[in-house]
């Protein structure tokens, strides 16, 4: 579904990603862990199409097409979704406000008719209960005055509404209380299928107990330095990133 090859990306002339290779097949869940500042959110932004990042080398292919050729909105319509680490606040715009337009843009792209008001409402109800989000919240100004957890829940609600093929969750678990974590993870698991994939960025192994990944990668210094199965997360939690670093140096010296 998604192939990232030798991806180099920089912002304001600073190279952040220094050759990322990653392949995600349909139906897979990949987790990315890594120290602060290692480039995880940068990777997420590049995938979503943020123009502030310059891709200087490498490629991203999504379902056979060159993703880097597409604008952010075109990627969304192709089925890419990013749950932001820091969702923006937009006064005067409610989630309901723009979500119908967003959904219809995506439907149009897929050759489907616009959703009618009643179906939209019904779909909203269903997805709202999936992530247990309060209707009041999605009718308020987007993220304005939302608690950290409410913002994250709103991201997952939007994901549920837009039904992406490939979703990147950037630290969706941070700021969530234990119940919310379970609910959000449950929401993700219900959306999981053989046809769609997830890239879950997290600092905590706990999320991965709920959303069990097929692969875990460690991103450090702009590169994926280690990959493994779900147990890698446990090992990381236990030993810390220094362990990966020493292991790497040892490898290099050997």
């Amino acid at each position: 579904m998604l192939q990232i090859k030798n991806l180099h990306a920089s912002v304001d002339g600073n190279e952040i990603l220094k050759g990322v290779d990653l392949e995600i097949k349909a139906g897979e869940v990949h987790a990315i862990m890594g120290p602060n500042g290692s480039g995880k959110s940068t990777l997420a932004s590049v995938l979503a199409g943020r123009e502030d990042y310059d891709v200087t080398e490498g490629s991203i292919t999504f379902e056979g097409q060159d993703l880097l050729e597409l604008a952010a909105e075109e990627r969304a319509r192709e089925g890419i979704f990013l749950a932001f680490q820091y969702p923006v606040e937009i006064p005067g715009v409610s989630t309901v406000n723009f979500l119908k337009t967003a959904l219809n843009e995506i439907r149009k792209h897929r050759g489907q008719d616009s959703i009618d008001a009643i179906d939209f409402l019904q779909m909203m109800r269903q997805k709202m209960s999936l992530v247990e989000i309060d209707e009041k919240l999605i009718k308020r100004s987007l993220n304005e005055g939302f608690s950290g957890g409410e913002k994250k829940r709103n991201e997952i609600f939007q994901m549920a509404m837009l039904e992406p093929k490939f979703a990147v969750l950037d630290e969706t678990d941070s700021g969530l209380d234990i119940d919310a974590l379970r609910i959000v993870a449950g929401g993700v698991n219900k959306l999981r299928s053989l046809n769609n994939s997830f890239l879950v960025i997290t600092h905590y192994q706990r999320l991965l107990e709920y959303i069990v990944p097929d692969y875990v990668h460690v991103l450090s210094g702009g590169k994926i330095v280690k990959s493994g199965g779900k147990d890698l997360a446990l090992e990381l939690e236990e030993k810390g990133y220094d362990w990966v670093r020493t292991e790497l140096t040892a490898d290099a010296e050997a």
């Binding site: 937009i90 006064p91 005067g92 715009v93």
Partner: protein, 439 residues
């Protein structure tokens, strides 16, 4: 010889029109009203049109709009503007008493009044009742434009709402310039008096018929007596060749409420002066403005709030979105007199510049002579938040749609202040139809 010498001398034309008008008076030239007009004309000749050297006109160059060869009639002209055209201008769903003026002259046949109890309307031209004349003191604190209006506004509306009366329907004042056969200038005057505890809504809408240039001058004097409430909405959505100058003077008495909402969605030249005097304790004034401009449109909102007595509050929020090479001006002056303790005055001016060629000139002016007051002001200008734009695009919205949503979100804070539902919807519609996107 100066390169910017006017192609036509509008000042001379104004004087000529006044002379022509005087000839029609047949001895009525001795009335006090005429004396006021005479001295206003002298004052206008002396002052001329304001120049950028005048601090209040620093960013507002009137030279281009005074250069045209306007028709300026000293008496009502025949017009074939009909009821159907008038209807096309009235916002859909608005149920209001309608007063129509064409080139500054009241048109009874195009107007429709429902004879609301406690509402008295006279047109200045025909039946100025004693005591309801353009005020003399206005000219002192203003400029050539106001003097011109006092001299040349031979018609207009004198409106009184009797004590305790709450009008069931708003009053819509429609100012139409007939510029089908060429450029035209017009002047009219409104004198509004809400007696104690009266409530009313006034809506003004400027329009033109035809492609010629129009220059409309409108001065309004409004008195809001004790406990009364006046909502005043100004709808300005004209084309590049339409110019207007509006001077609104409001006097508020104890516990009264005045709210002005100006929606300037288009026009080649718009200058709105709003001068509010808070004369009685407990009075509150609200001022809201939304400017949404493109091409080379120009809108200047000048406000002056004069806190003269203690315990009054004023609140102003002006927002603007400027595209292409459009220009906005906001000048907000707040005076707090030595006696006006416990004043609470709030002012905010927020602007979004959508293109490099667009300009906003904003200037708050606080003159505070009392110590126990709360005053705040703030002005911002910038682009739409890049993070917000990207967020919406990452959900599948085109840049255009995302911008429209943000524009709407920005504007809605002002639109929400419009107290007439039909108008609010009308404005929302104008807003969303400025792009193809439906919000």
């Amino acid at each position: 010889m100066s390169a910017s010498a006017p192609e036509t001398d509008l000042t001379a034309k104004v004087v000529a029109a006044f002379k022509q008008y005087e000839q029609t008076l047949n001895g009525a030239a001795e009335t006090p009203l005429h004396a006021i007009r005479r001295s206003a004309l002298d004052q206008f000749v002396q002052l001329g049109f304001p120049t950028p050297r005048n601090e209040e006109w620093k960013y507002t160059n009137v030279a281009p709009i005074t250069r045209r060869d306007y028709r300026l009639a000293a008496q009502p002209q025949a017009t074939d503007i009909n009821a159907e055209f008038v209807r096309s201008l009235v916002p859909a769903g608005l149920d209001a008493d309608l007063l129509v003026f064409v080139d500054g002259w009241y048109k009874a046949d195009l107007s429709s009044l429902s004879a609301q109890a406690g509402l008295e309307i006279h047109n200045l031209g025909a039946s100025a009742p004693h005591g309801a004349q353009p005020a003399q003191q206005l000219a002192a604190d203003t400029d050539g434009f106001v003097a011109l209006n006092t001299a040349l506004a031979l018609d207009g509306a004198i409106i009184t709402v009797r004590a305790g009366v709450e009008l069931a329907r708003p009053i819509l004042l429609l100012y139409i310039s007939d510029v089908q056969a060429g450029d035209a200038m017009s002047a009219l005057r409104c004198v509004v008096h809400l007696e104690a505890n009266a409530k009313a809504q006034f809506i003004e809408l400027n329009a033109a018929r035809g492609d010629g240039h129009s220059l409309q001058s409108r001065v309004a004097e409004m008195r809001v007596a004790q406990g009364a409430r006046l909502d005043h909405i100004m709808l300005q959505n004209q084309a590049a060749q339409n110019y207007q100058h509006n001077y609104t003077r409001v006097d508020q008495e104890r516990d009264s409420l005045y709210r002005n909402v100006v929606a300037a969605l288009g026009g080649g030249f718009v200058r709105n002066d709003l001068s509010i005097a808070l004369n009685g304790e407990g009075a509150h004034a609200d001022m809201f403005g939304l400017s949404m401009l493109n091409d080379r449109e120009f809108v200047d909102n000048h406000t002056l709030v004069d806190h003269r007595v203690p315990n009054c509050t004023s609140n102003e929020l002006y927002k603007g979105i400027y595209d292409d090479r459009s220009v906005g001006v906001f000048n907000g002056k707040i005076i707090v007199r030595p006696d006006a303790q416990k004043t609470n005055a709030f002012q905010s001016n927020r602007n979004v510049l959508l293109s490099d060629g667009a300009t906003i000139n904003t200037k708050p002016q606080l003159e505070i002579f009392a110590d126990d007051v709360k005053c705040s002001h703030g002005a911002t200008s910038g682009q739409f938040d890049a993070d917000a734009l990207f967020y919406l695009r990452s959900r599948g919205l085109s840049t255009e749609a995302a911008r429209t949503i943000l524009m709407h979100a920005f504007a809605v804070e002002v639109l929400d202040q419009v107290p007439v539902e039909a108008l609010r919807l009308h404005l929302e519609h104008q807003l969303s139809s400025s792009t193809s996107f439906d919000v």
